[in-house]
Amino acid sequence: MSAQQIPDLRTLLGRGRGGGLRARGRGRGDTGASHQDREALRDNAVKGTDQDAAGSRVSCVELGYLHDPYAKLFATQSSTRRLPLLNRGTYVRTTAIDLLIDKFITTSPDSPKQIVSLGAGTDTRFFRICEAYPGVDLSYHEIDFPANTAAKLASIRRHPLLFTKLTSGPPLSLEPTATSYHSPMYNIHALDLRSLASPPDDTPLPTLPHLDPSLPTLILSEMCLIYLHTSTVASILSTFLETYIPAPTPLALVLYEPILPNDAFGRTMTSNLATRNIQLPTMSAYPELADQRQRLKGYGFVDGFEAENTNNIWRDWVSDEEKDRVAGLEMLDELEELEMLLSHYCIAWGWRDGGAAGVFTMAWGDTQEQDG
């Protein structure tokens, strides 16, 4: 076979395989599908991201990256070992957020605090906090789609390791179909986050039981707000800043999101995720770390607004000893790729303290951040 006989694969585009574009369109529901169908497809894709994250967490736990006995109780997929670079990335992400939260909890440890986890899914953070800080005075809230909260509650009911954290008595007595759970310490709110955006008419905002407007509150969005439109995100956050947790109560936001959509890696990420019906609208709105900082400030987190990519966080936030431990867990060959992957995700954290010596300034004022 000479080179001329090798088919140019580009010429196969648009024909064969049952009609190219049309067939692909049908498969994904992009062509001809109504607006509502597309929205539903996207919502389902976003709901599905949670099990993806859960599987990554389990992989990390089983290999010794993270200590989290709760992760496997929530994962529905049989455990899949992830590639070393993904394990490393999950480790950095989790460890970085743990660090910010630990600093928050341990600052004025006796005063009550509140955490709101957006799109929490199967996140185990509440259970890990209970284990690490027994007796902590904390009101923890998770918000997610009913489909995800129902699955989470089912897992909690099934496993004593989980429900004993919530009740000292018998297992949780909840309807099998329950999607929400409320208690002074732990709350699962089953709702579409978009309902917290200011409604066009005067529809009242959902009530979030046990959410205390006077407690210093940390809002956590780990790969959550990124899936929503920029204006929707701004509106949801303004609901928290002005209505649920109004000034002068200290309020902070921690984001974990991809950045740099415009280089080759970022463009490929955008198009790969699009084939899974996953869109990342705010990524193009805040492409660089500097944009993320300005964004936090613009929302009203004016007392501190920081952002750092996870490559630098691995370098600067993880001790040499811990780096050695983690590096010893798995042989990691794909260094250039790891660096590229990690530099395309960031942690951004901003706060409104409503006073000079607020809890977040004390907790995070000296957290290391490099200009990037």
């Binding site: 590639l83 042989m331 060959d333 790729e337």
Partner: protein, 451 residues
């Protein structure tokens, strides 16, 4: 059944359409390949012309794109520098096709070992799982691993021409031409997948008269703009100096790089290679090391092999009468990257690596020097090399500090003049084969991103 002659051609045909061959044929093929490879030395001698390729990593459709861009076997001679397997979805088909071609055209294709051609690495990075999935047992993986143990550790290309004869290919949009219009002494030419000229650089040409910031490939290629003066991916500067000659020193091809335990190519020849890649030692280093902007040797963050600086490369090349080291092993977004005054080049041949990185790929064509074909230069005698002395990077002074004039002079006296003109280098840069033609598995692949 035995595999040979028409059976082999049938197997090639089947693998070209990305369909695995039956297990008994794999066993037979691997047996034949081992018989062939055992006869090769640790460092295979290869005559120019030859096309040098970097990592493939199971990206079968991109390998087909490579053959389309570079010409098919046996019309084009190929040298693949390892990492055929792992990461991509089609390690099995990619490696078996290359192995079939090796058995069918042993003098037309050279395969050397990469760090992924190892039992330990393939169990982590996908090839083992792929074999298990496609055959239901680990037998095929075992046969392939036995072949891995027999792959050569390096190759030495001789008879490469020092300059390229210019092609009459059309210019690509935004082409970067750094040579006189009538120049017939091209040192570097970069072509895109359509065969259009992206950049050209004449040997010793003072490119100052040429407008500078146009070293961008066509806007359709997702290639970052390099900050240096040469064409994208090259370290070429206008100071490479030297007289024109038509015998280039030899080119050493190795997957990773150099080893502190190896100062001559003959020492590579003495290694016992027929084993699993060890965790340390010379054989490990050759497959794992990376060049880096340091002085001397450094610890590798990969946990195996070493980092080595420009001084190491220049000494090694001088001592071994090499004009260039070609290696793979590191993802470079531009597909290729020349370092240390073009004494070493990284060639990367897996476009959009892992279907995620968005990089382009490249292959390196070395032309044949008609007057000197096949002449193996082995003496370490006097170097008749180029005119200009070294222009040393500021970081390669022998005292570990920034190179002062004194230090440069001393290093120059150690190294002498530049050993050899580098070979003329034609890079062909290509993108990933389109997604729709890949037959990507319908099943959702593993977590590609953090969600």
């Amino acid at each position: 059944m035995s595999i040979g002659g028409s059976d082999l051609d049938r197997a090639i045909h089947q693998l070209r359409s990305c369909r695995p061959i039956p297990e008994n044929q794999v066993r037979e093929l691997c047996y034949k390949a081992r018989e062939l490879l055992i006869e090769e030395g640790n460092v295979v001698g290869v005559d120019a012309p030859v096309t040098i390729c970097g990592d493939i990593h199971g990206q079968f459709h991109d390998l087909m794109e490579l053959f389309r861009v570079g010409g098919d076997v046996p019309d084009t001679n190929y040298l693949f520098m390892g990492d055929f397997v792992d990461r991509g979805f089609y390690s099995l088909e990619s490696f078996l096709l290359l192995l079939c071609l090796k058995v069918r055209y042993p003098d037309r294709i050279t395969l050397i070992r990469g760090n992924h051609e190892s039992r330990q690495i393939t169990t982590v990075y996908g090839f083992y799982d792929e074999c298990l999935r496609k055959y239901g047992s680990a037998n095929v993986w075992r046969y392939c691993c036995e072949v891995f143990d027999y792959l050569a550790l390096g190759a030495l290309v001789t008879g490469a021409a020092t300059s390229l004869s210019p092609t009459d290919a059309p210019l690509a949009e935004n082409a970067n031409i750094e040579c006189p219009p009538d120049s017939d002494e091209l040192e570097i030419e970069t072509l895109n997948a359509a065969g259009e000229i992206m950049s050209r650089c004449a040997r010793g040409y003072d490119g100052q008269s040429v407008s500078q910031p146009t070293s961008n490939p066509p806007s359709s290629s997702p290639v970052p703009t390099p900050s240096r003066t040469g064409p994208a991916g090259t370290g070429a500067t206008s100071s490479s100096g030297g007289s024109l000659g038509n015998d280039s020193g030899a080119i050493l091809c190795v997957h990773g790089g150099l080893s502190p335990l190896i100062d001559t190519i003959d020492k590579i020849r003495l290694l016992d290679r027929k084993q699993e890649v060890p965790h340390e030692g010379a054989m490990c280093d050759l497959l794992w090391s990376d060049p880096d902007e340091i002085d001397g040797w450094g610890l590798s963050p990969r946990g195996a092999g070493f980092l080595f600086g420009a001084d190491i490369v220049k000494c090694f090349n001088q001592k071994n009468n090499l004009s260039l080291i070609a290696r793979a092993h590191q993802l470079v977004m531009e597909g290729f990257k020349e370092m240390f005054d073009s004494t070493i080049v990284t060639v990367w041949s897996a476009p959009n690596y892992c279907y995620r990185c968005g990089n382009v790929a490249a292959i390196l064509e070395l032309g044949e020097d008609g007057s000197n074909a096949g002449y193996v230069r082995r003496s370490n005698g006097d170097q008749g090399g180029g005119g200009g002395g070294w222009i040393l990077g500021s970081n390669v002074g022998p005292n570990g500090g920034a190179g002062n004039a004194n230090g440069n002079r001393r290093l120059s006296s150690v190294l002498g003049e530049r050993a050899r003109e580098g070979p003329g280098r034609r890079y062909r840069v290509f993108d990933a084969a389109p997604q729709d033609s890949r037959g990507m598995p319908a099943k959702k692949p593993v977590a590609d991103y953090f969600l």
